[in-house]
């Protein structure tokens, strides 16, 4: 192992020892102390997310798609800056964006998906993670690093289409995986129909993430899935569009799923709250944007490519 890896591992061990020591010594000083690990967990989940990213990278490190040249560096920066700007503008504080049946319009998510698919997983990862971080900083929200990692995963997975020789085959696998995830989430919705929609805020009507989730929001993952499938078959001759939408869908399901599931431990949500109240109303609509905006971007970009010959 090289020296860098060893020093990183040593640092991790030191951090671990520090917390174990605190947890053991604290109660000796004051017996009334009780462990309350909520705040720390969000950083643990960042570690888990990064570990997933590292594993995927390590297993496929020979592939050319991970190479980062000048072009990729600039695209990373553009993607992250665009994602930050769009999420700042469309988060409801700058524009009062309309919402339909509890589904607010957050089109920014199309950016990491498109950049991931068009320029590779490394660009997608940077776009999602750094863009989300700067977007949060612009808005002045506190940061939720686990959501940054989740957004990074969205972009990275969207770019993993290029890891497969046969794109068409990969699309089918991706669709099967997505159908399974969407079906599980939707089944959970039907088992917990009274769950509140945690991500729907409408201050004018006195709704702060406490209104019962609507049928449409609950089914949005299914609606998104159907929409993606429609796009996939309408554009079956255009493999680029088909691969872009399906891989974006999988990236969205896994990335947002990761962030929502980590909230089970971080915010102490029950699995039903995390899946039905948080995952469905954020991942479902994202798929609708994936199905509509990503193909438009892919088509626009390919005509630019034809024009400039790059």
């Amino acid at each position: 192992m090289d020296r860098k890896l060893v020093s990183v591992l040593l640092a991790l061990v030191a951090v671990l020892v520090f917390f174990v020591a605190i947890a053991l010594i604290g109660p000796l000083v004051n017996p009334a102390l009780q462990l309350d690990e909520t705040a720390l967990l969000r950083f643990v989940f960042v570690g888990i997310g990064l570990l997933i990213v590292f594993l995927v990278y390590y297993l496929t490190r020979e592939r050319k798609i991970w190479e980062v040249g000048t072009r990729e560096v600039v695209y990373m920066a553009i993607g992250a800056a665009l994602y930050a700007i769009f999420s700042y503008l469309f988060n409801g504080t700058v524009f009062a964006v309309p919402s339909v049946s509890q589904v607010a319009l957050r089109p920014a998510i199309a950016i990491p998906m498109f950049f991931g698919y068009a320029f590779g997983p490394a660009v997608g990862l940077f776009t999602g993670a750094v863009g989300n971080m700067f977007g949060d900083a612009l808005t002045g929200f506190g940061l939720s690093p686990q959501w940054s990692v989740g957004n990074g995963l969205v972009g990275m997975i969207a770019g993993m289409a290029w890891l497969f020789e046969d794109k068409k085959k990969s699309i089918n696998t991706v669709i099967i995986l997505s159908v399974i995830v969407a079906a599980i989430a939707t089944a959970l919705y039907f088992l917990n129909r009274n769950q509140a929609n945690m991500v729907f805020f409408d201050p004018e009507n006195n709704i702060f993430g406490d209104q019962q989730i609507t049928l449409f929001a609950g089914l949005s993952a299914l609606v998104g899935l159907v929409l993606v499938l429609v796009v996939r078959y309408v554009f079956r001759s255009n493999i680029d569009v088909a691969a872009a939408v399906t891989w974006s869908m999988l990236g969205n399901l896994i990335g947002i799923g990761f962030a929502a599931i980590s909230d089970i431990w971080i915010n102490g949500f029950s699995p039903a709250v995390a899946i039905v109240g948080e995952f469905l109303p954020s991942a479902g609509p994202n798929m609708i944007f994936a199905a509509i905006l990503v193909p438009i971007l892919v088509a626009a970009y390919s005509s630019v490519q034809r024009q400039t010959g790059r």
Binding site: F18, F19, I22, G26, L33, L35, D36, E37, A39, L40, F43, V68, G69, T70, R71, E72, V73, V74, Y75, M76, A77, I78, A80, A81, L82, A84, I85, T93, F95, P98, V100, S101, V103, L105, A110, I111, F114, F126, V130, F134, G140, F141, G142, L143, P203, F208, G209, L227, N267, I288, F289, I292, L293, I296, L297, A300, Y301, V304, T308, R310
Partner: protein, 289 residues
């Protein structure tokens, strides 16, 4: 054309430190603040944030918009949580009612009632302190970090050359794309497109956002060719990069980093035991319990 943040050299506390030291301190500050909901600890961070703001030399005139945005946002959400009690549910389980104000009228048989409870008061105050501390420290960064030092700062923080340069470009692009966005929006408005009045069903609405999202994105990608060419001509990424400015830690920078790291460790240790809301005794006494 690149638009820049409103940086200028100021005679301020923030700028008297090495940018790396300040970024590390900022990171520690952010993480430490997030550990707490207890106002007694939060007030410590609140004081640090206020000190940084008032010694920053950033004038009200140049940062007015940012402050107004943050203040409206923070106040709105604090009052909101106070009125509705939403958001604090993870932090407290019982509420002690101090007084209740009922509206003298009924709407469809429902009488609007405001429950003033000790927990809600403390939650909204804590929320204010927390969000304000984080937001104000974040606002200071673009005003006080020299844009020509972005790259070398991230590089010397240990990031690889390419990632450091990527971060540099990201920070430079954000104001540029912000301007591009408003230009695009003005252009589309001139053609009769109005984002405020997007109509139709959900799918139609999403599709109607394309005239904003697509031009800005594609324009950014096309415009980047010049930057890519310029970087390639200077052999970007061929060998280890050198930076024209050098950064050196002085004693005060080391002290700031040490303070930041110590703050983070102590906060992390304390947070293992106190994440919950703190409600002072006199408020509980007012509630009669």
């Amino acid at each position: 054309m690149l638009v820049t943040w409103r940086y200028r050299q100021r005679n301020s506390l923030v700028q008297s430190f090495d940018p790396r030291a300040w970024i590390i301190f900022f990171g520690c500050f952010l993480a430490s603040t997030l550990f707490f909901w207890d106002l007694r600890y939060l007030s410590f961070f609140f004081v640090i944030a206020l000190t940084a703001v008032f010694t920053s030399g950033v004038t009200w005139k140049e940062s007015r918009r940012a402050w107004l945005f943050i203040l409206t946002f923070v106040t709105f959400f604090s009052i909101l949580t106070f009125l509705t009690g939403r958001g604090g549910m993870e932090l407290y389980t019982t509420e002690h009612i101090i007084t209740q104000v009922s509206a003298p009228f009924k709407i469809f048989g429902w009488q609007p009632t405001l429950w003033v409870t000790a927990e809600r008061i403390m939650f909204s105050i804590s929320m204010f302190a927390r969000v304000f501390s984080i937001a104000s420290m974040t606002i200071l960064i673009p005003y006080s970090l020299n844009p020509s030092l972005y790259g070398v700062t991230f590089r010397r923080l240990g990031m690889p050359d390419k990632i450091a340069y990527g971060m540099d470009l990201t920070m430079r692009f954000i104001p540029t794309f912000g301007r591009d966005f408003s230009l695009t929006m003005d252009a589309q408005r001139a053609r009769g497109y109005e984002i405020e009045k997007i109509s139709g069903g959900l799918f139609a609405q999403v599709r109607k956002l394309a005239p904003l999202v697509v031009p800005v994105t594609i324009h950014a990608i096309v415009g980047s060719e010049d930057i890519i060419d310029a970087m390639d001509l200077r052999a970007f990424g061929v060998g280890p990069r050198t930076w024209i400015q050098q950064l050196t830690f002085r004693r005060r920078d080391i002290a700031l980093i040490a303070f930041g790291v110590a703050m983070l460790l102590v906060s992390a240790a304390l947070s293992l035991f106190t994440y919950r809301l703190w409600v002072p005794d006199f408020l509980l006494a007012m509630a009669g319990g």
